[in-house]
């Protein structure tokens, strides 16, 4: 009798134990990697020289020029949208604006050249070209003109 009773008690405890067994926690949600943000348009390099190839890269980068030299800036850009605009502003050490011009970027990646020539000799001194991409300053390069 006791054994039968004990059997039923154990059976009941087992059944209750199974019934109350805590369910396994659900697996954690899979980590979702957010997509990388779109690459920002950027000016990656500015080179100065006196001559440029068909690919718009200056042939021999330098930052010192003679008073009769043409001065060319090659501006390398990446991740630009169609219609993106580059502006080059050339200034002399006095703060005077020498020239300013804008150019739509042909492609991405792209190379855009800006050039300045002067019929008379360049005044010797320190100059700077400042590059803006879609109106936002994107880089600058200083150079010297010496007699």
């Amino acid at each position: 009798m006791n054994r039968t009773r004990m059997f039923w008690v154990l059976a009941l405890v087992s059944v209750l134990g199974l019934a109350c067994k805590k369910e396994a926690p659900p697996p954690p949600p899979a980590e979702v990697t957010p997509p990388p943000p779109p690459a920002q348009p950027a000016v990656t390099k500015i080179e100065l020289g006196s001559s440029v190839g068909a690919d718009k890269r200056v042939l021999a980068p330098r930052t010192s020029f003679g008073v009769r030299d043409s001065i060319i800036a090659s501006v390398y850009t990446e991740n630009t949208a169609p219609g993106a605009m580059l502006t080059a502003k050339w200034t002399f050490q006095t703060g005077q604006t020498v020239d300013s011009s804008s150019q739509a970027i042909a492609a991405s990646p792209g190379v855009t050249e800006f050039h300045i020539v002067k019929k008379s000799a360049w005044p010797a001194g320190r100059y700077k070209v400042e590059i803006s991409l879609n109106g936002t300053p994107a880089g600058s390069q200083e150079f010297d003109v010496a007699k």
Binding site: A54, D69, D99, S100, A107, E113, H115, S120
Partner: protein
């Protein structure tokens, strides 16, 4: 600069621009120059480096295609080494 000093005149400056697609990987590729009629190595060196005396650098970088520095021909494509 004092107010009495005359500012330089930049009224005769002409500017311009143009743009092209960049060839992938070309950013560090050798730079080249296509010889035009009337060119000489010293003229190219003056144009590219601002120093005609650097023609020897151009000649040295192009000994595979130039045997005589005085003989270059229109249409030849020369490698231009960094200054």
């Amino acid at each position: 600069m004092t107010p009495d000093e005359k500012l330089p005149d930049f009224s005769d400056v002409e500017g311009g621009s143009s743009s092209a697609a960049a060839v992938p990987g070309a950013q560090n590729a050798p730079r080249t120059y296509e010889v035009k009629k009337g060119d000489s190595l010293s003229k190219i060196a003056k144009h590219v480096y601002g120093d005609a005396g650097k023609w020897k650098q151009i000649f040295a970088a192009n000994t595979d295609k130039l045997k005589d520095p005085d003989k270059i021909y229109p249409g030849q494509v020369l490698t231009i080494p960094d200054a």
